[in-house]
Symmetry: C2
Subunit: 310 residues, 2 copies
């Protein structure tokens, strides 16, 4: 049987999954990321975990297991170099060359990209974007990421870092962003941005108790400030999405990530804003859709999907 | 000898050029566009003009002339359908199927796209973008157009109408646009938008006497209001360009069109704004450059270049 490994490298934990040709995750493991300051022992441990999974699968299948490759989704992951480059939220510093390090242990293809690109490609190979040639994925979370597929190919651009729509400037002279600039989409539609909007509307201090999840629950209970918050976020995201359509005229824009799970309180104003801000020639050509992959599977499936790239 | 025909269809006139393999325009002709309300006689006349050019070239070369194809750049031109679709500024209404109509007269490849896409592809085949894989062209004129090349391919998107960055919304609730929405880049950085900014800064009425060309001349004479106008336009365009980089991480952004001819009064603030608004990870990876094609040749060369598409 043929399998691939999908690796979802986060700042705290690294999740691994053994994935079938059809996109079923048949085994999962994880290892801590933030206990490592050196890259070599991190990869050594990761390969040990991979071997455990392969060995266990051999026993389950009762036959030889063929590993097709290892796909990695990682913050600041660069597709062209196969490296993670000075990711600010990692305890391992410098340039992390996954291909080089993994090849000390295993002679299999290694493909790496940033997490949002991987999520987009996972949707393309295993999810709701199957058969589409042009679409964009927005991921809402701590930050706002995006992955762009044009003509069936993931857009990496000249540097390998294309698809950073979370850092398109929505409002000149807007909110301060962690990137050092002002007004990035991320400062409004990330989990933190949503909390800030809620607190601004409510007239309260931002505290760790206030989460986007809580604001979602409040909205479902009919809380007017929470509903107004999601309406504002929907309007901002709808504008950003309509602008993205002027670039690549996708047939769909997918949405995923924690804050997007709130559902209609966000989706209804989002769709209304998108229609309002969409250029007339694109009306009816592009729909907003939720990711069809499970929230706890998309990162691993996306990483594994990178191996399917032509 | 091998030649191609480049057709630049404008609302008033249609310019035709006979183009060599190397991108030299060896003959030019034109016919009026706005005297035609029917498509058939327009194409019939165009083919007559093409035959005249081919016949003349046969005499000049003293040998057979091989026509490789006809490339057309046209407002609202759709690459996938080969049609111009209800262009508001044309006297010929409805769907104009260039391929079908031309094939009644000539059995050669016909490729069509909108004028900004054609200009971008002309830069790629014959101009300053030769050898680049990722770049964006902004065309400033009556409107603001754009053409996007990713992985060496012109981006047409799912509808054929991708690359409309002139209608990305720069300022929510901004100036009224001819497209019916508000705040499009075009309302600030088109010739008309520039005149409006000048008049707002000057505190005068917009009149037909005030042109972007005149504002350019005033800037070169040191007029402070004119200089402030170009600084404002440069800032706005620099922001739009920095946002475009988050999408496709191009290695260059090209600029062309009448208002761009002003030179440093626009380019200096534009480059400063671009650096200021560019996300840190893209710093140094993308430069702003002027089109290297002659202003009076780019439309014909761009149209002819479409035939080189793979």
């Amino acid at each position: 049987m043929k399998y691939s490994i999908g690796v979802d490298m986060g700042g705290t934990n690294t999740d691994l999954g053994l994935v079938t040709e059809n996109g079923n995750i048949v085994q999962r493991r994880n290892l801590p990321t933030n206990v490592y300051t050196q890259f070599e022992p991190y990869i050594k441990e990761m390969m040990k975990v991979v071997d455990e999974m392969l060995e266990a699968q051999r026993a389950i299948d009762g036959q030889a297991v063929h590993l097709e490759g290892i796909g990695v989704g990682a913050p600041n992951g660069n597709f062209y170099t196969g490296c993670v480059d000075n990711a600010p939220n990692l305890t391992m510093k410098g340039v992390l060359d996954f291909g080089k390090e993994i090849h000390k242990w295993k002679d299999v293809p290694v493909v790496l990209s940033n997490d949002a690109n991987a999520a987009a490609y996972g949707e393309y190979v295993y999810g709701g974007a199957r058969g589409m040639k042009h679409f964009i994925m927005f991921t809402l979370g701590t930050g706002v990421g995006s992955g762009i597929v044009i003509d069936g190919r993931l857009v990496h651009g000249s540097t390998g870092a294309a698809g950073e729509l979370g850092h398109a400037i929505l409002y000149q002279h807007g909110r301060k962003c962690t990137c050092g600039r002002e007004g990035c989409l991320e400062t409004y539609t990330s989990a933190r941005g949503i909390v800030q909007t809620y607190c601004e509307l409510k007239g309260c201090e931002v505290t760790p108790d206030i989460t986007s999840k809580m604001i979602g629950e409040l909205a479902h209970q009919g809380d007017p400030v929470a509903l107004k918050t999601w309406a504002t976020v929907g309007d901002q995201l709808g504008l950003a999405m309509a602008n993205a359509v002027t670039f690549s005229a996708p047939e769909a824009i997918f949405l995923m990530g924690g804050p997007a799970q709130v559902g209609e309180p966000l989706l209804k104003p989002l769709r209304e804003a998108f229609d309002k801000y969409l250029l007339n020639i694109f009306q009816g050509s592009c729909t907003i859709r939720m990711s069809e992959l499970k929230a706890n599977e998309v990162a691993i499936l996306g990483a594994a999907a990178l191996l399917k790239m032509k």
